[in-house]
Amino acid sequence: MTNGSIPERAPGVSAADDFSADWFADYLRKRAGQPVQVTEFAKFTRGTSRQTWFATWRDGDGKTHEVVLRADHPAGAGDPTSLDQEYAVYERLGRTDIPHARTLWFENDAAAAPRPFYLRERVAGAWQVPGYTRQDEVGAGARLAAAQEHMRALARVHDADWQAAGFGDLLGAPAGLDDAVGHYVRLQLGRLAQFGGEPQPLLCEVAEFLLGNAPEAARISLCKGTNGLGEEVFRRGRIVAMSDWEEVLVGDPASDLAMVQGFAEPIVRGGETVWDLERALEFYNAHARVPVSLGNLRFYQLARMFGRMVMFAYTTTVVQRSPRATVRQSWTATEVQHWVRRALAGALGIGEGVDPAIFEELNMTVDMEAG
């Protein structure tokens, strides 16, 4: 295990060697020493950074197990952190009161699986929020309740004792409150140098801006990274598991509030705006032990985009080095990367910027259209 390690190049595998229900049944049979019945092995199509399967099996005693299998794409993950780091993050979450799916085991035996994977328990629930897309009062109520629940959950993440849980040892941490931005920029540039991303003059300009305008953090916390709609598991209106920790770090909690998806958008009820980014922050501050300032939040909207650019630069290297990179990774390395570059440049007054509506377009899926 290494801190924020860059994964090795994944060995080439044939399509026949990929994860499947038959492989999983055989794997479990060998591990348990008795036959098992796999009743579900379904790929989750929404994720981009890694592959996810939902699996269900019945063991020899008739007990049903529901799990999530996580593995890198055949050509490698879409982000420059390793699968073993993700597993270690989930393992450490078990030392906190943050809702999460409990890890089961990590499999690193090349003879046993197409590539390394780990299993975690599958928490009953869904990323979708019932009623979220309705354009009526019911929809507004659903969005507001989910957004408030998410702010409470973020406060819980930030209030967690990250040092006691071992996140500092795993991820590294800023030297102090005035080093949160410096630590973040060093982390990202270190990764970029390590995986050999394309030279990008824009990144150089942004790094200078971030370091030259760095605000002090109000505290140093565990920060989830990607968060909000599509990233957490809801059940009956409550967040029962927080997922997608690929961009986790120890730093300024403002960085999480800067990248909330779907739960900081304006909500209007009875003609009155009852929720927006500022109200979301106010709600969060009423629940977190240490408040976050709007200034820091705004700053990290830029800083996190900088981190995204480093991530996409990594995805580009994955596509570059293997024809087994996914078509989704090709898309990320082309269109998604372009809009994020444009947004970042626009924030610095370079170029035309970008219409924020494009990011809603990027989030659309064929299933949403069909629904």
């Binding site: 610095l348 370079i350 299933d367």
Partner: protein
């Protein structure tokens, strides 16, 4: 062979894919991948048509900008101009077809030289930050980035924007 061109062949691939393959996909993962493929086919078609000229323009802009930075380094002795001068030596071999790979590598080498020059310029800010020559160069770098993104947009926006779910 001149005709059908790559663009013409690709157009038939796109049509066949959209009309004969996509409607028959029932599986959610396959439909998601097909959506992404449809967008990327349009993107590739644009790149076939435009990328060569875009990279040539990019190289010309980079050479002009790096030349200005090297002159300023020499003039102010703020940094060593030699690495920039070395990067500016034409690298495309005479008499060889300037394939996209070759001119792409040339553009990347020049961008790497620009990033190194940016770092030297940023270090020189304390001593030269208020000088017109310095601020002109920094503005020139921002203009270069804006132009590069505008070029990139020509390969992205028409292929993806407003054309449906990506995945």
């Amino acid at each position: 062979m001149i005709h059908p061109t790559c663009t013409e062949v690709l157009a038939t691939v796109q049509t066949a894919f959209d009309e004969q393959v996509v409607p028959h996909l029932a599986d959610s993962e396959a439909r998601s991948a097909a959506a992404t493929i449809g967008h990327l086919l349009r993107h590739v078609a644009l790149r076939i048509e435009q990328e060569g000229q875009i990279l040539s323009d990019d190289i010309a802009r980079l050479e002009a900008l790096l030349g200005r930075i090297a002159d300023w380094f020499d003039e102010t002795r703020a940094a060593d101009a030699q690495p920039l001068r070395a990067a500016l030596v034409p690298a495309l071999p005479a008499g060889r077809y300037p394939s996209l790979t070759l001119i792409g590598e040339r553009a990347l080498a020049l961008r790497a030289a620009l990033v190194a020059a940016q770092e030297r310029l940023q270090e020189a800010a304390a001593g030269h930050g208020s000088e017109a020559g310095y601020t002109d160069l920094r503005a020139g770098i921002r203009d270069y980035i804006a132009a590069q993104l505008a070029d990139e947009a020509r390969l992205i926006a028409p292929a993806f924007q407003g054309r449906g779910p990506r995945r």
